[in-house]
């Protein structure tokens, strides 16, 4: 009987160690830089504070740290974000700032590059929408999705020659790295993670448009009466 309980203990300990390593592995993956490369960070990379959607005068700003291959980010972008955009961003009540936070998925980095290279031509948000909409196609594949990304870029009117040159050069690696380091310094461990007017939103896994609307309502409640 004692041997049986020792066996249970052994299973529990082994599983505990594996789970602990798994939880550590997530953050280590998140910090990973492209294999075999050294990222050079320039002053311009550090100065870039993310792509912004919404009015500069909006009273509330949300900073989202996201990974284009993260399924939770995809679900949020495809299901919740359109409502947030329509009800809060387009009405001038909310400003949305996107920050890359590539996790350890196979195509996290290349998809972040795709977003930045489309952004170089003023098409970041269009590309962001397409990357998330088509995430289930490219995200689950073992094949490098670069060709898919090119098609998406073409579809939103990006100049492909410039886009290809941008992707080949990986010129935004530093920008993505800075964004990731910034997120890590703010305590981001998974995606999507949201900061509302500088404060992290609890329960990132369950964030929805209603929650954001309530939040904006509460943060702006007194302003209309002044």
């Amino acid at each position: 009987m004692t041997r049986f309980y020792l066996l249970l203990l052994l299973v529990a300990v082994v599983a505990g160690v594996l789970i602990w390593k798994g939880s550590r592995g997530g953050s280590q993956d998140a910090a990973a830089t492209p294999a075999g490369s050294t990222v050079v960070v320039t002053a311009a990379d550090s100065a870039f504070k993310g792509y912004v959607l919404g009015a500069e005068t909006a009273p509330v700003e949300v900073v989202e740290y996201a990974d284009f291959q993260c399924p939770h980010c995809g679900e949020f972008a495809n299901v919740q974000f359109p409502t947030i955009k329509e009800q809060l961003i387009n009405t001038g009540r909310l400003r949305w700032r996107f920050r890359d936070y590539p996790l350890g998925f196979p195509w996290s980095r290349v998809s972040a590059f795709a977003g930045q290279c489309a952004g170089e031509q003023g098409k970041f948000w269009e590309m962001e929408e397409m990357l998330f909409q088509r995430q289930s196609d490219w995200g689950a594949s073992n094949r490098n999705p670069a060709a898919t990304f090119r098609e998406l870029a073409r579809g939103i009117g990006v100049d492909l020659d410039k886009y290809n040159a941008c992707m080949d050069s990986q010129r935004y690696a530093g920008r993505i790295e800075v964004s990731h380091e910034e997120g890590a310094a703010r305590g981001v461990t998974g995606t999507p993670t949201f900061f509302v007017n500088g404060r992290e939103l609890d329960g990132r896994r369950y964030a929805n448009s209603d929650a954001f609307k309530s939040l904006v309502d509460s943060l702006t409640a007194g302003q209309g009466r002044r």
């Binding site: 049986f4 066996l7 299973v11 529990a12 594996l18 798994g22 939880s23 998925f105 689950a140």
Partner: protein
């Protein structure tokens, strides 16, 4: 006794799998070690949450209950009693039906297989089989409290 030990051991394994998936779902684990990536797709689907609660959490609770009943049933005073066998069979039957539902969702709705979910399904299937065999092999003379 041997069957209850087997059930306890399997329930502990299932508990660990469910705990791993639940910790991922609530954001404590950043990436699932899955290989194909289908685990992420399954977990992030709308079927990953039931009645507002992550499906994996039901697994955590279910396996914990099975484990607890099996361990209690292994105590000397309970070894000859039938209630742990009946309770384990009932819990395992419920878990097995839930497993069939989840596997069907993966196969026929999501068309994606989560390896950890398959592992959990296999564990629950064996628990159910052992529980049912224990039910039928338990001597009728031991039914008294």
């Amino acid at each position: 006794m041997r069957r209850r030990q087997t059930i306890a051991l399997l329930a502990l394994v299932g508990f660990c799998i469910a705990l791993y998936l639940w910790l991922y779902k609530i954001g404590i684990i950043g990436t699932l070690q899955c290989g194909s990536g289908s685990c992420e797709l399954v977990q992030a689907s709308r079927y990953g949450v039931l009645l507002g609660v992550p499906v994996a959490f039901y697994g955590v609770i279910g396996y914990a209950l099975i484990f607890a009943v099996a361990i209690i049933g292994l105590q000397p005073a309970q070894l000859e009693r039938r209630w742990p066998t009946l309770t384990l069979a009932a819990l395992a039957a419920g878990g097995f039906l839930f497993t069939i539902y989840l596997t069907a969702i993966e196969l026929f709705v999501l068309h994606a297989i989560c390896r950890w979910c398959v592992g959990s399904a296999a564990v629950m299937t064996v628990i159910a089989a052992v529980s049912v065999s224990a039910l039928f092999s338990f001597p009728a003379t031991r039914t008294g409290p």
